[in-house]
């Protein structure tokens, strides 16, 4: 018995990997589709968009890479649908070079389904290196930081940019961030200085870092990781997505369900084995 318990505690990690793989695989084949609640933080993100008057422009900083797409990509997609559906105008920038091929085809494809015109209803300003300096310049003067959009059109020639020279000219700023530079830097560099109306989207692991900003009112809403994206999908689509739209984060919640349960069961079993072993050894 003792020997078996010690072996269990020191089992080859490949068994754990196998168990995790099974926990991920099962819900992909047999979806559980359990209902879930919507957190106040995510509801606040939704409300911030809902209360904007039609025709308003929203500055989106899409700062993520392929690794974080499963978590925050579904939010980005749903957010664009939400904005276009409400006739709002997204102005996109990115501080991550790896984000360009992820965000540009997405916004162009979604804009097409709503018959939105590039330059009038949406625009992509592209990527700029400089991290916090770029953020600082976005707060001060976007035209100076991005003289042209991604396609090389001068910003003054774009109808969507008329009267929108700096961050405070946008009634809402959305930072979709997988790390540095991103949400933290936007809050530190320009949110406080210009008192910007801002919401944040982050990975689950980064969530606890940004909750203090939400609690202090610096962020008006916050979506954390895959659960946040799934909750936002639920708010925007009310369980009835438009034809062709897939609720990726909602589907992925099943994987999280069993994955988390598997880890908790492992921890409990490990502790039971630990206590029994210790008691036997003490005896």
């Amino acid at each position: 018995m003792l020997e078996w318990l010690i072996k269990f505690q020191r089992m080859d990690r490949r068994w754990v990997f196998l168990g995790m793989a099974i926990a991920i695989f099962i819900p992909l084949v047999f979806p559980l589709q359990l209902p879930f609640r919507v957190d106040k933080e995510v509801r606040d993100v939704y409300r911030q968009v809902e209360k904007l008057p039609e025709g308003s422009a929203v500055l989106i900083s899409a700062d993520f890479d392929p690794a974080s797409v499963p978590e925050i990509g579904p939010f980005f997609t749903t957010h664009l649908h939400h904005l276009f559906r409400r006739n709002l105008k997204p102005v996109l920038v990115t501080l991550w070079p790896t984000a360009i091929p992820l965000v540009l085809p997405e916004i162009k494809a979604i804009a097409k389904t709503y018959n939105k015109k590039y330059g009038e209803d949406f625009v992509f300003l592209g990527y700029k290196e400089g991290k916090e300096l770029v953020i600082k310049n976005i707060g001060q003067n976007i035209f100076q930081q991005f003289p042209t959009d991604y396609d090389g059109t001068p910003l003054p020639d774009l109808p969507i940019m008329q009267g929108r020279r700096q961050a405070k000219d946008f009634p809402l700023i959305v930072s979709i961030s997988a790390g540095f530079p991103g949400l933290n830097e936007y809050v530190l560099q320009i949110q406080g200085q210009y008192n910007l109306n801002m919401v944040g989207v982050c990975t689950a692991v980064g969530g606890p870092d940004y909750i203090p900003f939400y609690k202090s009112g610096q962020l008006k809403g916050l979506s954390m990781g895959m659960p946040g994206s799934a909750q936002y999908e639920k708010l925007v689509w009310k369980d009835k997505p438009a034809p062709g739209v897939k609720l990726l984060a909602t589907a992925a919640m099943d994987v999280l369900n069993l994955g988390h349960v598997f880890i908790i069961v492992l921890i409990i079993m490990g502790n039971i084995a630990f206590f029994i072993t210790r008691r036997i050894e003490e005896a």
């Binding site: 559980l32 091929p101 592209g126 400089g130 880890i263 921890i267």
Partner: protein
């Protein structure tokens, strides 16, 4: 002079940038924007330095066939190939049919996603080994982790009787102890950053000049 001039520049730029928050005059703000633009340009040039540094460090190790030279060769090769196609296929725009786009879609995306996905497996293994209730502190950490993990997914809400309480307790953990600890860290880090900033501006801290 090699030390004095950078110290003078650091002092002038540091004090000037601090003034931004106190002097709203348009010309001052205009100069500040220009200085920020210099910074962006310098950051761009730093990329070039990065490439040179990476080559300087890794190329000799590849040529001398030092341990793990093959990984360094792959890294340098990838850098050269990606940079070549990036320039050859005309600038930063990526379109279907480009080799540069192919490299991104079929190499970077799957590799990047794989690296991040592996975390799930390693976290499961690490949690199994590390989360042991050996003492009171470890037990608190263990219980808090399990509650947050369970309450963050729908299955936690479905547990009879305790499901709704789990969510309330998870919110309390995230909103009270977590926020308190994070704020303490933020304030401490901010005070440290202010102190370091003042030391650099005044020339007391000189490690950025390459001296002690």
């Amino acid at each position: 002079m090699r030390t004095t001039l950078p110290l003078i520049i650091t002092f002038i730029v540091g004090v000037f940038m601090l003034g931004e928050f106190f002097i709203p005059h348009w010309y001052y703000q205009h100069i500040k924007t220009l200085v920020l633009e210099f910074g962006t340009v310098i950051a761009g040039v730093a990329f070039l330095l990065g490439v040179i540094n990476l080559t300087q460090v890794n190329l000799p190790r590849v040529l001398e066939r030092q341990p793990d030279w093959i990984y360094k060769a792959i890294m340098l090769g990838s850098m050269v190939v990606t940079t070549f196609f990036g320039f050859w296929e005309a600038g930063p725009r990526m379109e279907d049919g480009m080799v540069y786009k192919w490299l991104f879609d079929f190499l970077l995306v799957p590799l990047n996603a794989t690296m991040f996905s592996l975390l799930a497996f390693y976290i499961a293994s690490a949690a199994f080994r590390a989360f042991r209730a050996r003492n009171a502190e470890a037990t608190v950490l263990l219980v808090a982790a399990c509650i947050v993990m369970l309450a963050r997914v729908p299955i936690g809400e479905q547990i009879p009787v305790i499901g709704s309480y789990l969510s309330v307790f998870q919110n309390w953990l995230m909103d009270v102890p977590n926020v308190a600890a994070r704020r303490a860290i933020f304030v401490g880090a901010a005070l440290g950053a202010i102190a370091t900033g003042v030391r650099i501006i005044l020339g007391i801290e000189r490690s950025h000049l390459g001296s002690d």
